[in-house]
């Protein structure tokens, strides 16, 4: 607010007040995102720049905590105080777009000179689509792969990173070293979205989908994960650790392989005192179709906005700055037309190249308006199998029954 007043005062003082824009109050748009909490992020930085460049449109930016974003927006929407623009984690987007809470911007995108739907990777783009219409634009994206400790691989005489899940398990066994508190592998199988995020790709690469989770591959995968936990090749704590904490044990040299995503790279470059690399998620049989999880955020305009045109201009501005996203903020833009500049850190650049390849196989979770319930069915099933409470196939069949009820 002070910023706005200041800008107009300065403008007036300079005698530039002749245009019509100054005769009326500028349009104020509310933008909600998680960026800018502890350090400058994408949305807060770009919004501040936008405000400096525009006098007729001003952004009122608000940081909302990740865990509160959906709840807060639901509440605001229910009471008629929804923001104009909001950014959601990609599986949450359909919850809003399918109920008419997001603005259909298909035509605006078609007529836009700046936003081109074809430039986006297919997975992220699918996550903003509902019923063939575009309800937002992908903001950034990420996915998962296998980080591996090259020093440990060398010491164990293993030359290649794992290509199949059988190899992954075999390596995990060979690399486990209880004397030195080293596990062969670490991943996240926790009771939450991260659990689904890491397990769903295995269902998908064995021919299944979130609507069809009982596949031979998924059963095999659960048996493998359970063997790894039971034999101590992976810590039992994978059942309660999130990806960030789980990969922490890799960074400290207590796990030889870790399944996680590019958000780990910066910390790993700093913390890991060994040579490491990244490889694509293994498959069941060589030559099988690949799959990976799709993470990342989307941006959308809420249907209750009074200024759709202006809000779209803001989206266009954000999109026009996408090429700065990686160098300045470390996030991967969801677009294939942007070349990421080299960082000069060899480990980082190599890892990034792998994740960019992996992104081509990344599939969005959903989109489905009841995604959270589907996700719970999947991670509950996974956990009952891994804790031995149910046989893997029975656990997946129970998850399937719940999913059938939700999807109908």
């Amino acid at each position: 607010m002070t910023n706005k007043t200041l800008t107009s005062t300065v403008a007036l003082a300079l005698g530039l007040a002749g245009t019509a824009a100054f005769a009326q109050d500028p349009v104020t748009l509310t933008v909600w995102s998680i960026d800018g909490d502890d350090r400058p992020g994408i949305s807060d930085t770009f919004s501040a720049e936008f405000n400096e460049q525009h006098d007729d449109i001003q952004i009122d930016y608000r940081i909302v905590a990740f865990d509160e974003l959906v709840n807060e927006t639901l509440r605001a929407y229910a009471t008629g105080n929804a923001p104009d623009i909001v950014s959601f984690d990609n599986p949450d987007f359909a919850l809003f777009s399918s109920r008419g809470a997001m603005l259909d911007i298909t035509e605006m995108v078609e007529n836009s000179d700046i936003i081109n739907a074809e430039n986006y990777y297919e997975g992220p783009m699918n996550s903003v689509m509902w019923d063939g219409k575009i309800y937002g634009i992908p903001k950034y994206t990420d996915t998962i792969g296998v980080f591996y400790n090259k020093d440990m691989f060398e010491a164990a005489g293993i030359e290649e990173p794992p290509q199949t899940w059988a190899q992954f398990e075999d390596y995990a066994e060979r690399l486990t070293d209880p004397e030195n508190n080293v596990y062969g592998a670490t991943f996240s199988a926790r009771a939450g979205e991260e659990g689904t995020f890491q397990f769903l790709p295995l269902i998908q690469m064995s021919g299944g989908s979130y609507e069809d989770v009982v596949t031979d591959g998924a059963v095999e995968a659960l048996e493998m994960m359970k063997r790894m936990i039971d034999n101590g090749w992976a810590s039992q704590d994978v059942l309660s650790l999130g990806q960030w904490d789980s990969t922490g044990t890799f960074n400290s040299g207590n796990a030889a392989m870790a399944i996680s995503g590019p958000w780990e790279i910066d910390r790993m470059v700093e913390d890991a005192e060994f040579d490491w690399g990244v490889t694509l998620l293994p498959v069941f049989e060589e030559g099988d179709e690949r799959s990976s999880a799709l993470g990342g955020f989307n941006l959308g305009i809420m249907s209750t906005t009074e200024h759709p045109e202006e809000a779209f201009q803001v989206l266009e501005y954000y999109a026009s700055q996408d090429d700065r996203m990686f160098p300045e903020f470390g996030n991967i833009p969801a677009r294939s037309d942007i070349e990421l500049p080299e960082s000069g850190i060899a480990l980082k650049d190599e890892a990034l190249a792998v994740f960019q390849e992996q992104l081509q196989y990344a599939q969005p979770r959903g989109p489905h308006p009841d995604w959270q319930q589907i996700s719970k069915a999947i991670y509950d099933g996974m956990q009952s199998a891994l804790t031995g409470q149910m046989e893997p196939r029975a656990a997946l069949e129970q998850a399937q029954a719940s999913i059938d009820n939700i999807v109908e």
Partner: protein
Amino acid sequence: MLGSLRDGVGFDMLLIGASMLFLIALAGLPLIYNVMMSFQEVDMFTLGSLFRPFVGLENYREVLAEPIFWPVMINTLVFVVGSMAGQFVLGFSLAIFFAQKFPYSGTIRGLFLVSWVMPGLVVGAIWGWILAGDFGVLNVILRGIGVIDTNLFWKSDPALSLWAVIIANIWLGLAFNMLLLSVGLAAIPGDLYEAAELDGANAFQRFWTITLPMMRPTIGAVLALGLIGTLQQFDLFPALTEGGPANSSNVAQYLSWQYSFQLYDFAKGATVSVMMFVLVLFASIVYVRSTRHEVRG
């Protein structure tokens, strides 16, 4: 009537009326809203409106039919009984210990209150580190004194996960129990003990025939508040286990939250909380009846 407003019946009515209004507005209306919601079909986008399709007992039928419903209820019972027993027994022992006169007993007792002023999420995070499987402090200690020889995965073993939360919750509620029980102990006249000692009663007899009966109202209050506090305990669950693995540490209050704010099924969330409310109401009635007898006596 108006004249008595300053002094008399009118004034009494005014005071009671004000607090009743306050109670109805802040506790009554949300409660009624919650009960209403449990009989309605609530879509997340109709959350703001008051009138929604009425579905009768459908929500209750669905919640009861969930395969995890009964395991969660049993977990809730274990959690409540385990936490309350631990908090009470340890709290009472500490209260008696610090009631003995030794140097700095008051100061040391004061230090115990640290746990009481800490937010549940912080306590959860700290206990999360203590109870961690591979590098947790508790495992190191237990291994050091030879109780275990392999690490226990407190948070990830379905047989232990609920106990991990119970242990943290006992620590969290310990100071509160100790404080209330200390006050009760301090209120027992010292000459009762002196007389009993002269009559030749030993320490155990003094505890059994003087301390316990004299403490009965305090114990009743502590247990009632303990029940409410334990059923309200929520922060430790997201901080420690998230109800996992495989719902082995899921309890009713966390399930209610999961329905409402993780699955956005607000009607089912309300349904579970109404069930819990009935339970607490029942416990309160038992408590009120038992203390009423005490007052008459």
